[in-house]
């Protein structure tokens, strides 16, 4: 297992370097001279040039990128143009909120998706199956920010059960987490259903049934373990969409997370913060993928053997 982890880690490093380089190059295309933005329009050209030299803006872009990444390893992501605070402090204050929201939504998603997918497969071609698949199709097609608005309309404004926005109360997380969960839930339920359908037609399930094992145990012990392998892949894929969703949902619910910080920074042309947010999100996505892959290796021995 250790060999598998090390090989997978080694494979991830060039991907992270590549992804951060792509983000760095894209954000570097942003119009406007950072030195000029920091000093203001009244500063003389000499002063701007001196600051450019000091900030290393005259160096080749790859040198600037290498410097940025080395500083990032030390926790330094530059200074925000807007708040004048270190970007790392700004992001550090909001990242726990985003993680909390993502964690809650993935829990809601799994708690709903797995039973839905499994029961839809067991009860294939019944009204329950049809209903589950209809719900999941609507879930996949519904723009999550619109779902967020509808939930606000019903549960906050009409019923008054949850706060409209912010993160002050404990219950504030329910609506944003639920809106984020629905789309992923729909995809995971569909995958679980189809992989479960494939598995319950296998010979070993027939064998288990013919041995007289109760249906409940056949499903839990024999079918589920194998059916969940594609589901784990889907959960990994959904992490990326959850991350992208967080940008939209945090904006809808004014949730003080890194996604909202990013959008606010784009609006105020605060390039270092935008860069920091996107790079942190891209690295987190790679790390989550690594964790999912490691877990995959744990449950599917075929995967592990590919690396040994």
């Amino acid at each position: 297992m250790l060999k598998f982890i090390i090989k997978r880690l080694a494979a991830m490093i060039p991907i992270i370097i590549g992804a951060t380089l792509v983000v760095y190059l894209i954000i570097s295309l942003t119009e406007g001279d950072p030195a000029r933005i920091m000093l203001g329009t009244e500063a003389t050209d000499e002063k701007v040039e001196a600051l450019r030299e000091e900030m290393g803006l005259n160096d080749p872009i790859l040198v600037q990128y290498a410097r940025y990444m080395l500083n990032l390893c030390k926790g330094d992501m530059g200074i925000s143009y807007k708040s004048r605070n270190p970007v790392s402090v700004e992001i550090g204050a909001r990242l726990p909120n985003t993680i909390r929201l993502a964690f809650c939504s993935i829990i809601i998603c799994l708690v709903l998706a797995l039973p839905l997918g499994i029961f839809a497969a067991i009860k294939q071609n019944t009204w329950f199956d049809g209903f589950c698949m209809l719900i999941s199709l609507i879930g996949i097609s519904m723009p999550i920010f619109w779902l967020g608005l509808l939930l606000i309309l019903l549960f906050s404004l009409k019923l008054g059960w949850f706060p409209v926005s912010g993160a002050e109360k404990l219950s504030s997380i329910v609506l944003p987490a639920l809106s984020m969960a629905v789309r992923s839930m729909a995809s995971i339920a569909r995958t679980t259903r189809s992989s479960m359908l494939e598995v319950i037609r296998q010979d070993y399930i027939r064998t288990a049934r013919s041995k007289g094992i109760p249906e409940r145990l056949v499903i839990r012990r024999h079918a589920l373990k194998n059916a969940l392998i594609p589901t784990i892949t889907m959960i990994g894929l959904q992490m990326g969409s959850l991350m992208a969703s967080s940008v939209l949902i945090e904006t809808v619910f004014a949730w003080p997370g890194i996604g909202r910080l990013m959008i606010q920074s784009i609006m105020s042309r605060d390039t270092p913060t935008v860069m920091g947010c996107i790079i942190v999100l891209a690295i987190s996505f790679s790390i989550i993928n690594l964790v999912v892959d490691l877990f995959y290796g744990l449950v599917d021995p075929r995967m592990k053997s590919m690396y040994s």
Binding site: L29, L149, L153, A244
Partner: protein, 300 residues
């Protein structure tokens, strides 16, 4: 010798045409048996018709963007079935006109991604070895950034405009197409009729365009249908964030963003544009799912 070649070529082509026609008509037959796919297809046709004739039904300057303060924020009624917005514009008219914008961006970005992604996929899948390694590692790097995030980064850097939005969405769609195309090519690259084409000295371009591509289009078409849905959702999402289509153009996501401001008193403003987005995405998903099942060889 030349004559033999020609005869062989001709028989190859005619056999392939026969087979291709058979496979295609079988797929269409399977597709027509799926009610959900037909529903999706019909909705898409209706949406395309609405998009084409939007400017016949409404005058862009007069009905879509002209402010009419005396009629602002009217709740749904006989004259304005979906109500009016904060500037007195008819929401139904704006939603219908919005179809044109969403479909235009969805189809354009999709076509650009498809062409560029397929070229990358062909380079990787057909030539293999080093070019495969280089292209696919590059695609892995792009896939390591969630699509919407990559699009946001591009729009943030280039600035908000319809053109930049299309560029952003096209770039984030390239890696999935490259993967799909490469995978499809790998399944046909070494089959006999490609070997035969190589053996008679056909050029790479002839082999790729005449023999490989027609046999690789099924997964690409499925991906295209599903990706249009994703692009329409992303367009609405980015416009909702203020990074996509700018006012006064009637874009569904931007309309929802305005509706959010008035959600307490005028909730109908957040209702209808969302329904429009959902129906459009649903239609493409239904058709995409149907196409995937129809083209899936396991279904035969």
């Amino acid at each position: 010798m030349n004559k033999e070649n020609t005869i062989q070529k001709n028989s190859n082509v005619s056999k392939k045409k026969k087979r291709k026609k058979g496979e295609f008509s079988q797929a269409v037959k399977r597709l027509s048996k799926r009610k959900s796919a037909i529903i999706g297809f019909v909705i898409i046709i209706l949406l395309i018709l609405l998009a084409i004739f939007a400017d016949v039904i409404y005058d862009y300057e007069e009905d879509i963007i002209k402010q009419n303060i005396s009629e602002r924020l009217i709740s749904p009624c006989a004259e304005h079935p979906f109500g009016t917005d904060e500037l007195g514009r008819d929401i139904l008219a704006r939603i219908i006109y919005g179809t044109r914008i969403s479909l235009f961006i969805g189809i354009t970005a999709n076509l650009i991604s498809m062409v560029i992604g397929s070229i990358f996929g062909i380079i990787a899948g057909y030539w293999g070895k080093k070019s495969d390694m280089i292209v696919m590692r590059l695609m892995d790097v792009f896939l390591a950034i969630p699509g919407l995030l990559l699009a946001i980064a591009i729009v943030a850097a280039l600035g908000t405009s319809t053109r930049n939005l299309i560029i952003a969405l096209s770039i984030s769609g390239i890696p999935p197409y490259a993967r799909v195309m490469r995978g499809a090519i790998l399944t046909v690259r070494d089959v006999e009729y490609i070997e035969a084409a190589r053996a008679i000295g056909a050029r790479h371009s002839t082999i790729i365009l005449g023999h490989i591509l027609p046999n690789c289009m099924a997964p690409v078409i499925v991906n295209a249908t599903l990706y249009i849905a994703a692009v329409i959702a992303a367009t609405a999402g980015l416009s909702f964030l203020g990074l996509g289509i700018q006012a006064p153009m009637p874009e569904w996501g931007a309309m929802l963003s305005t509706g959010r401001t008035y959600i307490r008193q005028y909730s109908y403003m957040t209702l209808f544009p969302g329904v429009a987005i959902m129906i459009t995405i649903l239609a493409f998903n239904l058709l995409g799912d149907g196409l995937r099942d129809a083209f899936d060889p396991r279904q035969k």
